[in-house]
Amino acid sequence: MSGASKFVEHAIEFLPILLQGAFVTVQVTVLSFALSSVIGLVFALMKLSHWRPVALTAGTLVNVIRGLPIIVQLFYIYFVLPDIGVQFSAFQAGVIGLGIAYSAYQAENFRAGIEAVDHGQMEAAQAIGMRMPLIMRRVILPQAFRIALPPYGNTLVMMLKDSSLVSTITVAEMTRAGQLIASSTFQNMTVYTLVALLYLLMSLPLVYGLRRLEARLGARRPR
């Protein structure tokens, strides 16, 4: 029993610090998810462009980003860019790095969604005199989003977990907070169990919520 009571005792002591880290984790996740969505959408639209140089540029960028480990991208932004005069705080570098790294996957999510929309939708919109930006905004993207929602939500869950990578560039998110506590107290089991539980506490409701959202959109607007 003393093992369990020890665990609770330590947990009470460590939790406030870990929760602060969890708050940073959520911030990093939300911000870099938003950034990756915007960049990813731009890449997706570029890849679908009929203007070949634009499509080619986007394709190349996406492949380069996809071909690099996320940690290397983070190191590059945080440690290398200052050498050429571009300085970011660790938090900014983390958000930008994760955002760019994930934009490649977001681009694929969005492109697949857009391409899955029936071509007749485009023609019907053109036939009532709509221009391309309006067609995208009113007709194609709303349908593409519904199609892309499952992989899009999946990306969000993956990002929540991969936000721990920014600990490598000293951002004090939850994993980093855990590392710091563990190395000073040697309570590895307690600390990392707590860290794991806290990640689950965030990711499981997210998974559940996304499934509810998918079901609701599917039920309200059946095809």
């Binding site: 007749g120 019907a124 036939a127 009532i128 009113r138 095809r223």
Partner: protein, 244 residues
């Protein structure tokens, strides 16, 4: 109102249109008939710039139709199009489908657009389905909403691309009835169709296409009952008496 002059169109090696010429005056109803692959749908799609073409010219209301020119959007809004597969926006209600063009292309006030859209839905017999999603409607109802959506732009002419071909037989009549009423109001219409009864009754003129050319055209009664060309006779025999 609509002039097609020596239209040529190819898909790769395959020449789909080999010099189609067709003039349609205001208030005229013209039916395009012919076997599948004869180019009738392609010709129709060239008229509102959904297809490009390599040779000849299409003019609508005196302006050249070119899908890459800057006036194409305005021209399209003057010519309504109804598709074989309806192509309603599935994420918008029937009413929203009809309001979409007036609201976002013509930038009409919402209350005006709504009132007009409801009137159009009433006209096609679907006022009671205004709030329904497309998926909740039958094929015939969806196609009637699609007609209302095209009419909402107050077009000068309407193009119909096999509007009843995707429908169950018992639903064809309700769509043809709406089209018949429209023709009765003096709407200029070009209709690609396999409905010979409709063509005979409603069309001022029928054009028979075969292999990318207009083989024969004339007043509906004359072309459908006393065709001059062998290929027209052969086609009509097969369509009017299937199985022989």
């Amino acid at each position: 109102m609509i002039e097609v002059i020596d239209l040529h169109k190819r898909f790769g090696e395959h020449e789909v249109l080999k010099g189609v010429s067709l003039g349609v005056d205001a208030g005229e109803v013209v039916c395009l008939i012919g076997p599948s692959g004869s180019g009738k749908s392609t010709a129709l799609r060239c008229i509102n710039g959904l297809e490009s073409y390599e040779g000849g010219e299409v003019r609508v209301l005196g302006e050249r139709v070119d899908r890459h020119s800057s006036n194409i959007h305005r021209l399209r809004s003057r010519v309504g199009m109804v598709f074989q597969r309806f192509n309603l926006f599935p994420h918008r209600s029937a009413l929203e489908n009809v309001m979409e063009g007036p609201l976002y292309v013509k930038r009409e006030a919402p209350d005006v657009a709504r009132r007009d859209a409801l009137a159009l839905l009433d006209k096609v017999g679907l006022a009671h389905k205004a709030e329904a999603w497309p998926a909740q409607l039958s094929g015939g109802q969806q196609q009637r909403v699609a007609i209302a959506r095209a009419l909402a732009m107050k077009p000068d002419a309407m193009l119909f691309d096999e509007p009843t071909s995707a429908l169950d037989p018992e639903l064809v009549g309700e769509v043809l009835a709406v089209m018949r009423a429209l023709a009765g109001e003096g709407m200029t219409m070009i209709v690609v169709t396999h409905e010979m009864g409709f063509a005979r009754e409603v069309a001022d003129r029928v054009c028979f296409l075969h292999g990318g050319s207009i083989v024969e055209q004339g007043p509906a009664a004359q072309l459908l009952t006393a065709p001059q060309q062998a290929r027209t006779q052969d086609f009509l025999r097969r369509v009017l008496r299937p199985g022989t």
